[in-house]
């Protein structure tokens, strides 16, 4: 996360670390039930086998897991059948753990949104992860066509088409009412974008998917898989892999 701050212990009990072999932390993930997590499909490129992975929860510091952390192997990885690697389309995966986690103060599932549900107006949303923090330059302004670049130059960076599709949330950080200048970076993929709903229930609305390499050293926009769009598919996969395993 670029521009964020260190979290309090237990502040995001659904945030998990998707780890593989010698690489350690590869991606973020999100606990949605005692035996199920969500992440993005592109995390598994080149390492599609479930036995290469483990999910670690209850962490604050990656290097110091602590006695309250829980680690589980992965029983199955369900990548969305329409995932397109070339254009990072349908970038979402359901991960089945090899056994249930124990719900504690530091390990809790997040709420899945109802199909089509939107965050409540004026709700606070957060992105979290253990990705790169970068070196944000306080004095860097985002270049605009008026300041010297021509419109053609920004054609390199335009994610126009993606903005029109309901499978995505394009987050222009500068468009938020209260600008807390943060952005997701490499290593945050698969992590959550959560918003606080009525009654203090945090709900998962996005999964960190990708961002343009343009403005990557400053607050470039981020694209998130829109969980609301995929809720029916997620629930269907949990049903199939729980009750139809013959």
């Amino acid at each position: 996360i670029l521009g964020g701050r260190v979290s309090r212990r237990g502040a995001w009990p659904w945030q998990c670390s998707l780890q593989s072999g010698q690489s350690g932390h590869v991606c973020g993930c999100v606990l949605i039930a005692r035996r199920w997590a969500l992440t993005v499909a592109h995390c598994f490129e080149g390492r599609e086998s479930a036995d290469l992975w483990r999910v670690v929860l209850g962490l604050n510091n990656l290097d110091h897991p602590g006695v309250h952390s829980q680690s589980r192997g992965v029983r199955s990885i369900i990548v969305h059948p329409r995932y397109n690697r070339a254009v990072v389309d349908y970038d979402i995966s359901v991960v089945q753990l090899d056994s249930e986690v124990e719900e504690t103060a530091l390990v809790r599932p997040v709420c899945l949104p109802q199909p089509g549900q939107l965050p409540s107006p004026d709700s606070y949303c957060y992105i979290t992860g253990w990705g790169h923090m970068g070196n944000r330059s306080e004095s860097t302004r985002l270049p605009t066509p008026a300041s010297g670049g021509s419109d053609r130059h920004f054609n390199i960076c335009s994610e126009r088409n993606m903005m029109l599709d309901r499978r995505y949330l394009l987050v222009l950080y500068s468009s938020f009412k209260h600008v807390f200048p943060v952005a997701v970076k490499y290593g945050d993929s698969g992590g959550p974008l959560v918003c606080e709903e009525v009654g203090g229930h945090w709900t998962l609305f996005g999964l960190t998917s990708w961002g343009s390499v343009c403005f990557s050293k400053v607050l470039g926009p981020g694209v998130y898989s829109n969980v609301t769009h995929f809720t029916p598919w997620i629930q269907q996969q949990i049903y199939i892999h729980t009750y139809l395993t013959d």
Binding site: A11, E45, I156, L244
Partner: protein, 380 residues
């Protein structure tokens, strides 16, 4: 070879290997498969390339394979794409089996003209492309320069009438990208080799028709895809399955869709449990119902845990004959099975004529006990 010795197929003069190979060198030319560079004046390449990639697969997912096609759109240098491909898929000389590099002047010109454009958007020229590593043209070493007529655009681009290249994804997207707006001409589905959804202007790929995913308005791309007999039902992927096998707890459709939506709770306040079996609706007899099955019902529907369970008398005067399912005597031996697999049809109606009704409540989620909850505090 990357490892110290070659794969066994290269040892001992196997016909699969070129005689110029030795036990420690399995160098060979391979056909170019990187789509981005399939319109070059050469068709053989050799890895590793000049960017450190070990294979065409690695090149296909590299940052450079995204950067250069995007940069070409700015028109900073006419032969930028050609230069990029000499780095990504270097020409392989079929005689010497060696790579043929780009000439130093080609490298320098591309960098001089285009590096500043990248700087405007906060990007850097690729690190591995130091021009001094490449030979000057006219020297002892062979190097590549673009010939007249070399294509300025890659197969991943659309060539505007003006000659400018724009990414193919911008063709017919409703935005005018070409100088002459030609990227928005002839944008009918058939011109773009796509299929037009009946009744709308939406274009989809032919492979999306009858693939089980609705893409057209009114789901017309998934209509009339199955040819099933009268006693069969159509799976979501348009296979046909005999109706007696539908919702029996076992998968018969390859996409398991014969076991989808088999169980439901009525939307009415009574939440009566209904099971869809053999293409008909059944009520569940409450006579042998138990708490574990209530838990299974709510869990299977993704609705949490049972908050109340009741036995609802059958409504008198219901038109037609009520269909009943009963709890299977061995229901508890079917661990991991869906609810519909633990019920059976019997030759008689429900003795008590009472139906199962279950109300579920979602389990708590999205709470942060470590942070604390202060519901009485209101933000001001």
């Amino acid at each position: 070879c990357i490892s110290a010795s070659c794969p066994s197929a290269c040892v001992g003069g196997s016909t699969a290997c070129d005689p110029r190979n030795s036990n420690s060198s399995c160098t060979r030319c391979e056909p170019i498969s990187l789509e981005l560079c399939m319109n070059l004046p050469y068709n053989l390449t050799r890895y590793p390339n000049y960017l450190g990639h070990q294979s065409q697969r690695e090149s296909s997912v590299s940052w450079e394979s995204s950067l250069f096609p995007a940069l070409v759109q700015t028109g900073c240098y006419q032969y930028l794409m050609f230069y990029a491909c000499t780095l990504l898929v270097p020409k392989c000389d079929p005689v010497s089996l060696q790579r043929v590099p780009p000439c130093r002047s080609l490298c320098r010109t591309a960098k001089e003209k285009c590096e500043s454009v990248l700087g405007i958007v906060g990007l850097q020229w690729p690190d591995d492309s130091d021009c001094s590593q490449f030979p000057e043209e006219g020297g002892n070493a062979t190097c590549l320069l673009p010939e007249p007529g070399v294509d300025e655009c890659s197969p991943s681009h659309f060539k505007c009438g003006s000659g400018r290249c724009v990414l193919a994804s911008r063709r017919c997207d409703g935005h005018l990208d070409c100088d002459d707006n030609s990227d928005e001409d002839d944008c009918g589905c058939s011109e773009r080799a796509l299929w037009e959804c009946p009744g709308s202007k939406v274009c989809i790929k032919a492979s999306m028709i009858c693939d089980g995913f609705p893409d057209c308005p009114l789901l017309v791309d998934e209509a009339n895809c199955s040819v099933c007999r009268d006693n069969e039902l159509s799976c979501n992927n348009h296979q046909c399955v005999h109706r007696t096998l539908w919702c029996d707890g076992k998968r018969h459709c390859s996409d398991s869709s014969d076991e989808w939506n088999c169980v439901s709770l009525a939307d009415r306040s009574d939440s009566v449990l209904t099971v869809f079996r053999t293409a008909a609706e059944y009520q569940v007899c409450a006579d042998e119902w138990n708490h574990e099955l209530s838990h299974l019902t709510c869990s299977q529907l993704g609705l949490g845990v049972p908050s109340s369970v009741s036995m609802v008398p059958d409504q008198p005067g219901v038109p037609g004959r009520r269909r009943w399912l009963h709890v299977h005597p061995e229901w508890n031996l079917r661990n991991g099975s869906a609810l519909q697999a633990r019920l059976e049809k019997r030759g008689h109606a429900c003795h008590s004529r009472r139906r199962v009704s279950v109300q579920c409540s979602r389990e708590e989620c999205g709470l942060r006990p470590a942070v604390g909850i202060y519901p009485h505090r209101k933000k001001r």
